[in-house]
């Protein structure tokens, strides 16, 4: 990222910082995925395993569950943003 018109060299992000950033992002996605798997399993399956494959209802439930989870993720993210900004003047950028 460089700041045009200000002259001077752009601040360099070190390799270590880049890798840490990438790792943090990967960890976040992995955590979200694992939580998603556990949540949707809890919500869509019951414990009497009559067969090993997914029933039609279970599959449908899972698909919908994932979709809603993503929407919930966005909703909660937006709430966090607005709560975080409620102490400042003006609205946040969307």
């Amino acid at each position: 990222m460089s700041f045009f018109g200000l002259g001077g060299a752009a601040p360099q992000v070190s390799t270590e910082q880049k890798l840490k950033g990438a790792e943090a992002e990967l960890d976040m996605i992995t955590t979200m995925f694992n939580q998603l798997v556990d949540s949707c399993h809890r919500k869509c399956f019951d414990k009497n395993y009559s067969e090993g494959s997914l029933t039609k209802n279970e599959s449908l439930c899972v698909d919908r569950c994932v979709s809603k989870y993503f929407d919930a993720n966005v909703q909660v993210g937006n709430s966090m943003q607005s709560v975080g900004q409620s102490g400042t003047l003006g609205r946040g950028l969307k």
Binding site: T15, L19, E23, N34, C44, K47, G52, S59, V66
Partner: protein, 89 residues
């Protein structure tokens, strides 16, 4: 996130592989725990009954298939989200 150059990508790939191994072990231990809790409740013997064995097999298979399905849905939803974000810029 800043883009990684080729060398950094290679280094990152090693980190990713380590994480994948850890994640696999985590999956395994969690799955055993889950299926044991759901399927094994008869302690009149110290051996698994055939009913329990069947249950364990089904439990594991179902969970792994579920996990696979979530994976593909996750990719789809993620792609949708990216497209939406790009569209709104």
């Amino acid at each position: 996130m800043d883009q990684l150059n080729y060398k950094e990508q290679q280094e990152f790939q090693k980190i990713v592989e380590q994480k994948q191994m850890n994640d696999f072990m985590r999956l395994y231990t969690n799955l055993v725990d889950r299926c044991f809790n759901d399927c094994v409740n008869d302690f009149t013997s110290d051996k698994l009954t055939s009913r329990e064995e069947t249950c364990l097999n089904r439990c594991a298979e179902k969970f792994l298939k579920h996990s696979e399905r979530v994976g593909s849905q996750f990719q789809e939803q993620n792609q949708k989200l990216m497209d939406q974000m790009r569209g709104s810029k």
